[in-house]
């Protein structure tokens, strides 16, 4: 194995990322880190290199991951049992969720696990759900070994508290699919049996046929009416009970009218009925609902703190021995040992002298916080660096993080905007159709009683709220699909409606406006000669602290690393070392300059101070890099008359830059706690503003829930994100203005399709009022109106997306 530093940027053979710090060469293949190299070696040993032949660089980076005994808890029977689906003497069944599964190579490798572990009897991938089902022999291997194996080859299963608490995942209901299948089947057959009726103009060779076909149609329509169409009836009934008229009420009225009238006609032998139209409508409306209900099964919009917490932690027993314990079983005064990159599960006191904790998820502050012995550390923080012992102060369910969730959740479910609008339209629709129906019935009553009933039901039949039921689902369903392809995942079709109504956009700063993995480093102070710079780089490279690593990367030169004679790391403070007769110290202000000095001013920024031979010469300052094109995105939004505001938990250090980007009209609030953020949204809403909150972390959770629409910006969709209405991929941030105008045009498309369908309804009503609506006219009008509507909505929304650059 060779170790070398190269000047040209090379791509890792395993994960495809640029090798930035160092390149490791094995078999003429380049790897960016030892993690990737290890995976390659495991696969090579087991003749599994076909993995690399399906797709180039299929792996995911193994950088920045914890190693060690973190899966030891899986050996504990009680915990393992919660994960296992089925178990007997010879085989154990288990299902893992593996978020990192992403390509055909993954499928291949994961289905060849038996080559890596002889205990695997059978395994299968479900790519859509990103699940791996394994049957293994408990005598040969164990749950822990399997999880460790998966982790080693880069497919770490997601194991968290939530899964344990609801192991049996609710199976996605397939009933809708059955209903569609049945309705489609009945629709096709009834159409076929109705053809004689259409073409004969009502004159048959034999009356027998008419009767037989009629009864066959009735027989086929009964299951459609009672099974396929029942959700319309149930929803309509629920609405009426709550004294609202929802979209299903006019649909239910139409379907019931069609069914009763057709059954009556067939049984009494007076006509052929409208079963073809009825089953067709049910079929198309169910299809539309299915289209609209496009869900991202592998995404979670409603995750809560439970899915953030690990399953278990290491508890130290009195006798100094350790045992894994489930997080929910933790009690006050338990002593825990937290390892590098582990999450602190409950509010605790630090026993160790020193610990560095990354609270980025709770507070949004991007830099780790240094804690001293006896300090309280909060649940949700991630330990960075050496292991630490802590004593639990509060139970998990009582911790600060948990309360944050509960507080934001007690908002309750309010009626969505869509429901309000559709209720209003439905109400008028019902009123108007009933009025027309009654009016025509009254008109015909004096002339012909049969015609009067005929006209009444015909109006209800033809006015069946097909536009209402079809245009919105198909438009929004198509929009969801387009946005999903682009990397904007909205929770439901209703989100689009609400997006169109937004006036004010509130941004979080860290992680939302800034790019979390891109930091600008500037140096301030006396100039450092080149030889010293090299030395500083070499020393920084020795430290495991994230800031030192960033500095080493920043200073990275092409020269070889210098030999470090003496190195001493002070965890959480800094690092010192000797190179070529010089003594270098790198670290925090307190460590280098001393605690007693005035420091307020310089604390606004994160920085590393440099001391060479007892002489402080300057410091490196770390600034968050704002997103590319942020300014133009914000300008576009402001040009479209959106009000903008920023609320951040950060200090005021970057006030000037933000004011420059957002202009003076935007409100910018610093040092906001999660509660402050929530209150701010509430305050704006009191003035009648409809708010879009764009955030990223748990510190925004309250605000995201409170706002009318909460969008989460995420680096990786598999990462944890707080409850929200939509997840936007990092690189799609600049499409925010396009998304908003897309939502607006979506509403316009729905309204136009309403107008189109009203035109069809007027033609139909013309026949219906006269009491001459024949099954043939219904059978012609129905497919024309539905298909033209569906085509219009889908084509119009696709064209609009192309125009806005979203597809």
């Amino acid at each position: 194995m060779l170790k070398s530093t190269t000047t040209t940027k090379t791509v890792c053979y395993h994960c495809g990322e640029f090798c930035e710090e160092e390149t490791i060469l094995v078999d003429d293949k380049q790897f960016c880190c030892t993690g990737c190299k290890l995976v390659y070696e495991i696969l090579k040993e087991n003749n599994l290199c076909t993995y690399y032949s399906f797709e180039g660089t299929p792996g995911k980076s193994k950088k920045n991951e914890a190693i060690g005994h973190r899966y030891a808890y899986l050996d504990t029977e009680s915990i393992a049992e919660k994960l296992i689906i089925f178990k007997n003497k010879n085989s154990t069944h288990v299902r893992f969720h593996i978020p990192k599964m992403h390509c055909s190579s993954c499928i291949w490798l994961l289905e060849h696990l038996s080559r890596l572990d002889k205990g695997v009897l059978q395994n299968q991938v479900n790519f859509i759900q990103k699940e791996l089902f394994i049957v293994f022999d408990p005598k040969i291997t164990s749950l822990r070994k399997l999880v460790e194996l998966l982790d080693r080859i880069g497919y770490e299963p997601e194991l968290n508290l939530e899964q344990i608490q609801q192991k049996i995942k609710k199976k996605k209901s397939k009933i809708r699919i059955y209903k569609i299948g049945l309705a489609g089947f009945a629709f096709g057959n009834i159409m076929l049996l109705s053809f004689p009726e259409y073409f004969s103009g009502g004159v048959y060779n034999g009356e027998d046929f008419r009767k037989i076909f009629g009864f066959l149609n009735l027989f086929l329509a009964i299951p459609v009416f009672f099974f396929s169409a029942n959700e319309f009836m149930i929803n309509a009934w629920k609405g009426i009970q709550q004294k609202t008229i929802n979209i299903d009420v006019p649909i239910a009225i139409g379907i019931i009218a069609m069914f009763l009238r057709s059954s009556f006609e067939i049984i009494s032998g007076t006509g052929a009925g409208f079963f073809d139209s009825m089953t067709g409508l049910v079929f198309f409306m169910l299809l539309g609902r299915n289209f609209q209900d496009k869900t991202y099964d592998w995404l979670s919009f409603d995750r809560d703190y439970k899915s953030y917490f690990p399953i278990s932690v290491t508890r130290i027993k009195n006798s100094k021995s350790e045992e894994p314990v489930t997080v929910s079983d933790l009690k006050i005064n338990d002593r825990l040992r937290i390892h590098h990159l582990e999450i602190i599960p409950a509010d605790s006191l630090l026993v160790e002298d020193y610990a560095s904790i990354d609270y980025s998820f709770v507070t949004g502050e991007s830099n780790p916080v240094n804690c001293l012995k006896g300090e309280r550390i909060y649940a949700g923080g991630k330990l960075i660096g050496s292991t630490a012992e802590v004593i639990v102060q509060r139970e998990v369910s009582q911790s600060y993080l948990t309360q944050l969730w509960n507080r934001s959740n007690d908002k309750g479910i309010s009626i969505s905007y869509f429901q309000k609008i559709s209720a209003a339209i439905s109400k008028w629709f019902v009123i108007i159709t009933l009025t027309i129906a009654t009016a025509s019935a009254i008109y015909w009553y004096s002339l012909d009683i049969n015609k009067s009933i005929n006209a009444f039901t015909s109006v209800l039949v033809i006015a069946c709220a097909c536009a209402l039921a079809l245009s919105a689902p198909f438009t929004f369903g198509n929009m969801l699909r387009i946005l999903g392809k682009k990397g904007i995942y909205l929770k439901s079709a209703f989100v689009i409606e609400r997006l169109a109504d937004v006036h004010t956009i509130v941004f979080d700063k860290t992680g939302t406006l800034t790019e979390s993995n891109n930091v600008a480093i500037t140096y301030k102070g006396n100039e450092i000669p080149d030889e010293h710079l090299d030395a500083i780089e070499s020393i920084a490279a020795c430290s495991s602290h994230p800031l030192s690593k960033l500095l080493a990367k920043h200073l990275h030169s092409n020269k070889k690393c210098l030999k470090v004679n003496y190195i001493l790391e002070h965890p959480g403070k800094g690092i010192e070392g000797d190179i070529k007769n010089h003594h270098y110290s790198l670290g925090s202000y307190d460590f280098i300059v001393g605690i007693n000095h005035e420091k307020k001013d310089k604390q606004k920024h994160t920085s590393i101070f440099i001391k060479i031979d007892e002489c402080t010469i300057g410091y490196f300052q770390f600034n968050n890099q704002y997103r590319h094109g942020l300014k133009s995105t914000i300008e576009k939004l402001q040009k479209d008359n959106y009000k903008t505001a920023i609320i951040t938990g950060d200090h005021e250090g970057e006030k000037m830059i933000l004011e420059n980007i957002f202009s003076s009209t935007s409100e910018i609030k610093f040092n906001q706690s999660p509660q402050n953020k929530l209150d701010y949204i509430k305050h704006l809403q009191k003035h009648g503003d409809k708010i879009l909150m764009v955030g990223d972390g748990l510190n925004d959770a309250g605000a995201l829930m409170q706002s009318n629409i909460g969008l989460t910006i995420s680096q990786d969709i598999n990462n944890f994100s707080p409850a929200c209405d939509g997840i936007v991929l990092n690189d799609q941030f600049n499409n925010l203005p396009a998304l908003l105008s897309f939502a607006k045009s979506g509403i316009r498309i729905v309204i136009i399709s309403f107008i189109i369908s009203i035109a069809y309804n007027v033609i139909g009503l013309y026949f219906a009022i006269q009491g001459t609506l024949s099954p043939v006219i219904a059978a012609i009008l129905m497919p024309i109106s539905t298909s033209s509507l569906v085509l219009y909505t889908v084509i119009a929304s696709s064209l609009k997306a192309r125009k806005l650059g979203l597809s």
């Binding site: 479900n126 859509i128 027998d208």
Partner: protein
């Protein structure tokens, strides 16, 4: 006339058969994952065995 009736009954029976087949396949989970089976069928194990140093010989 009776011929047409028999044919219609036959056609209904056949289509019902397909409906049942559809229900069965949905219930059986054949539509749950439409990506991995498509990939799986292209995966060839044999090449691997030839490449590996005379394990099976």
């Amino acid at each position: 006339m009776s011929v047409i009736l028999i044919l219609i009954i036959c056609s209904l029976l056949v289509s019902t058969g397909f409906l049942i087949a559809f229900f069965w396949s949905v219930n059986n989970g054949q539509y749950d994952d439409d990506i991995s089976p498509a990939v799986r069928i292209l995966i060839d194990d044999e090449i691997e065995d030839i490449d590996s140093t005379n394990k099976n010989k």
